[in-house]
């Protein structure tokens, strides 16, 4: 299962709910305002770090760049992908669930 999340973790519960439902080995892709959740030193970083230990966490590069979040601020273990990488993830996982 590939989970996509597009909401800021500071504003909404979408990421928290996604993390609570992602099983071991699932893939999670942070896009749009959810990319703020991929950065170090925030109040939600510990939760995302824990998720990155049991799931594969990805973040969409163009959305990071749009928001001025540089890749060196990313939580360890998170992989940056572009839109083509996003497509590859949906090919590798048979079902995609969007957390809006």
């Amino acid at each position: 299962m590939l989970h996509t999340v597009n909401k800021s973790p500071f504003e909404r519960n979408a990421l928290a709910s996604c993390l609570a439902h992602a099983t071991d080995g699932a893939a999670i892709l942070l896009i749009e305002d959810a990319v703020y959740g991929a950065t170090k030193g925030t109040s939600v970083a510990a939760k995302v770090e824990a998720a990155a230990a049991k799931c594969k966490v990805f973040v969409l590069g163009p959305d990071l760049a749009a928001r001025g979040m540089s890749e060196d601020k990313l939580i360890d273990g998170i992989t940056v992908v572009d839109y083509e990488g996003f497509v590859d993830l949906t090919v590798e996982h048979s079902v995609v669930q969007a957390w809006l």
């Binding site: 597009n6 497509v87 090919v91 969007a98 809006l100």
Partner: protein, 119 residues
């Protein structure tokens, strides 16, 4: 691989629309097929032919229509959601068609992957 895409929001107000478009474009670039994009909820506003963003901004309606023309993507607007929001044949942009919600379920059955972009 065949993709179906559900777009839940209108143009400009939410990036969801742009994400759906960029995803579709990348999928096509990689040799996949986007069978159908279904516009539901406020997503129906993507099909409004009167959209006129400032010239230096992306023209979302035109981008969808070009994709439909060049790559045979079926752009379907939900009839019931459109009526509620004032999107009808008289304001429908070229490249889009209006049909029922069944078209969404149908592509969900036929496509290899079903994607949702929304708010």
């Amino acid at each position: 691989m065949k993709f179906g895409i559900l777009v839940n929001e209108g143009p400009y107000n939410h990036q969801a629309v742009d994400s759906a478009y960029q995803f579709a474009k990348a999928a096509i670039a990689k040799g996949h097929t986007v069978s159908r994009v279904f516009f539901y909820y406020d997503g129906v506003h993507n099909a409004n032919k009167l959209l006129e963003a400032p010239q230096d901004e992306r023209q979302i309606g035109k981008l969808w229509a070009e994709m439909a023309k060049e790559h045979g993507v079926d752009l379907v607007v939900c009839v019931a959601a459109g009526l509620r929001r004032g999107l009808k044949e008289e304001t429908l942009a070229e490249g889009f068609r209006i049909s029922g919600l069944g078209q969404l379920i149908e592509v969900g059955i036929q496509a290899d992957r079903m994607m949702t972009f929304g708010d």
